[in-house]
């Protein structure tokens, strides 16, 4: 029996043009709109002008150390799987100016805050695992004693349009990590792409008043639409990879496992996994000056625990060996992150598997070290 819905959880249906108008409206309201767009070899998250920039009919094949774009025959706009890098690029850019300092006449210096913030951003196509990643980083950058005001502001202003996955990649394990595939919270609007012989539409549900306002003019969804949308995500629950987050906590208790040496023999210590990981948050700082030395700036840059500089204390690096650097990364991600933030640092997006040039698989390594039987 159909019940009358409450106004603030309006579920609507947009067709492709409707989605185009939706994006156009966002741009009109002053948002920089980021969404999936096909670059030469991948679907990346970038500025988009409209729905035409979305990667219609592109899918991807992903496995360890392997990503290929594939044509889809259904023309889906959101059928590309996951982009190479998540939304931390936008929310926590690779380079951020922390301050500029200028020498004063007669000694001392003045500090100027960084440039005024950019316009707010809107993200189109945020997956469930990515929403989880954003929440994880938000906690790192604001949950405890010191917050990063830049991150907090960008996130507070960002308008998030989530998209439900209709299928899983071979590298996905969000179901294990409890972060997906269903989009449950943290969005302004949630889209589910429905494609069949007769139509290509998007069921759009508002998650916030801001989202509801954007959907005000849209056509309400029928109960059948809602049912179909709920069904879409079921297909994505079938996943190849598994990781037991509870068991993985034992990683920290196994610092001398022989597997560390085995993985170190394969690991390039290139840092790709940390760079593509949507929750990895480590940064370093760079001090720069002009030639005269009268003006100085300090920049914050993404960093990786795979570099030797990362653990440098005077005299030398603490983690000189590949084994200890890999161990630091995976142990922090799956084990000590829980000690720090009461949840795991892994959201199961599988990017570290795809973009590792030699295809090292976090789920396999965790299982091998914590003795979970799978290998």
């Amino acid at each position: 029996m159909a019940k009358a819905k409450r106004d603030d959880v309006a579920v609507t249906v947009l067709d492709k043009d409707g989605l185009g108008d939706f994006i156009k409206n966002l741009r009109k309201s002053g948002y920089q709109v980021f969404g999936p767009r096909r670059d030469s070899d991948a679907v990346i998250y970038d500025l988009i002008d409209g729905a035409d920039d979305l990667p219609a009919g592109w899918g991807s094949e992903q496995k360890g150390g392997h990503y290929r774009l594939r044509r889809r025959d259904d023309g889906a706009l959101f059928g590309y799987g996951l982009g190479p890098q998540g939304w931390k690029r936008q929310l926590y850019p690779p380079r951020q100016k922390l301050f500029a300092a200028t020498r004063k006449e007669g000694g001392g210096f003045t500090l100027a805050p960084p440039a005024p913030p950019d316009p707010p951003m809107a993200f189109i196509g945020v997956r469930a695992c990515e929403l989880a990643a954003i929440a994880r980083q938000a906690k790192v950058f604001g949950d405890r004693d010191f917050a990063d005001p830049g991150y907090q502001r960008r996130l507070a202003e960002a308008l998030i349009v989530a998209v439900q996955c209709g299928e899983a990649l071979d590298t996905c394990f969000c179901a294990s990590m409890g972060t997906g595939p269903e989009v449950k919270a943290g969005f302004d609007v949630k889209l589910t792409e429905l494609i069949d012989e007769s139509r290509h539409v998007f069921v759009a549900e508002a998650g916030t008043p801001r989202g509801a306002k954007l959907l005000k003019a849209a056509k309400p969804a029928s109960p059948a639409d809602i049912k179909a949308a709920a069904q879409v995500v079921k297909n994505a629950e079938i996943q190849q990879k598994h990781l037991d987050p509870a068991a993985a906590r034992a990683l920290a208790a196994n610092p001398e496992h022989p597997r560390w040496d085995q993985v170190a023999a394969r690991c390039l210590t290139c840092g790709n996994c940390t760079m593509v990981c949507p929750t990895c948050f480590c940064t370093t700082v760079e001090d720069v000056t002009d030639l005269k030395g009268d003006n100085a700036e300090r920049w914050r840059k993404w960093d990786s625990c795979f570099t030797t500089d990362f653990s440098y204390i005077h005299g030398g690096a603490v983690r000189t060996e590949a084994r200890s650097r890999y161990r630091q990364w995976i142990t922090h991600k799956l084990s000590t992150w829980v000690d720090q933030f009461d949840e795991t640092g892994c959201v199961g997006c599988g990017r570290c598997i795809t973009w590792c040039p030699v295809g090292i698989d976090i789920t396999e390594e965790a299982a091998a070290i914590t003795g979970q039987g799978r290998n």
């Binding site: 150390g65 392997h66 001090d287 030797t308």
Partner: protein
């Protein structure tokens, strides 16, 4: 402008293509400002004016390939407070170090007229193989921003921001899609030091390693992956044997794919 004491800069050349010292002249926007901060005391490519040492900073381009070079670099070292090598020749022997892997006499058996006019060594080696070096700037050629950064840091007494990590990190920072993963392209990025500005992957080609080995290069693991991607042993051998062929890690890896 008052003639306050500016540090003296010298630029020296050994066996090379001149590209790295040209990089200094390619700093079009910064060159004049730079000369206000340093006094160019020896830089033959740019000026016939020559000032005597000692020099505060010496930039050294090129590799050691003749007996005369050995004497000359020692003299340069003696005259220089800070000796910075610029480029793959000076830090690893350069492309001309390919002779190190061959019997040079084989090169010569070919027709040429008067070998007795020429004085050369059988090897091309890095400056640091002969004298202590304070800082090595990588690249074939060096990146001009890195060159300015090193000079700037030397002038301002700070540590230069020159990362020693992989090129991959730079690719990811710039948002460049990984060629190796997304297109199966052979790429030395994971074992190569960052700093070029993501040139080759940005041009849809694999990194060919002109910045030399990164801090802890696992070349064996990368070579394994390259073979898995369909490269032959000879390809892998050649890939590691170019502008930094004589850098330890690359030399060893190329040797094991003879």
């Amino acid at each position: 402008m008052s003639e306050r004491k500016r540090p003296k800069l010298a630029v020296w050349k050994f066996s090379s293509c001149d590209g790295c010292q040209l990089t200094l002249l390619d700093c079009e926007d910064e060159l004049l400002a730079l000369t206000e901060e340093v006094r160019i005391s020896y830089f033959l490519e740019a000026t016939r004016k020559v000032e005597k040492g000692p020099y505060d900073v010496s930039l050294v381009e090129g590799s050691i390939t003749t007996p005369h070079d050995i004497k000359a670099i020692r003299e340069v070292r003696k005259q220089s407070k800070l000796l910075i090598t610029i480029g793959a020749c000076a830090t690893a022997g350069g492309i001309q170090a390919l002779r190190n892997f061959k019997n040079v006499k084989d090169f010569i058996r070919t027709v040429y007229a008067h070998p007795e006019y020429i004085d050369t060594l059988t090897t091309s080696t890095a400056i640091s193989d002969h004298v202590p070096v304070d800082f090595e700037l990588r690249g074939c050629p060096v990146n001009k921003y890195q060159m300015l950064e090193v000079l700037n840091a030397a002038l301002n007494g700070r540590k230069p921001n020159i990362p020693r990590h992989s090129q991959c990190i730079e690719c990811k920072e710039s948002g460049t899609v990984c060629r190796m993963v997304a297109a199966g392209t052979a790429c030395l990025g994971p074992v190569t030091q960052a700093g070029c500005g993501t040139l080759c992957p940005g041009k849809d080609r694999g990194c060919y390693g002109c910045f030399g080995p990164m801090e802890t290069p696992n070349t064996a693991a990368l070579a394994g992956q390259l073979l898995a991607l369909g490269q032959t042993g000879r390809d892998v051998h050649r890939l590691f044997r170019t502008y930094n062929a004589n850098a330890d890690a690359f030399r060893k890896e190329s040797d094991s794919h003879g």
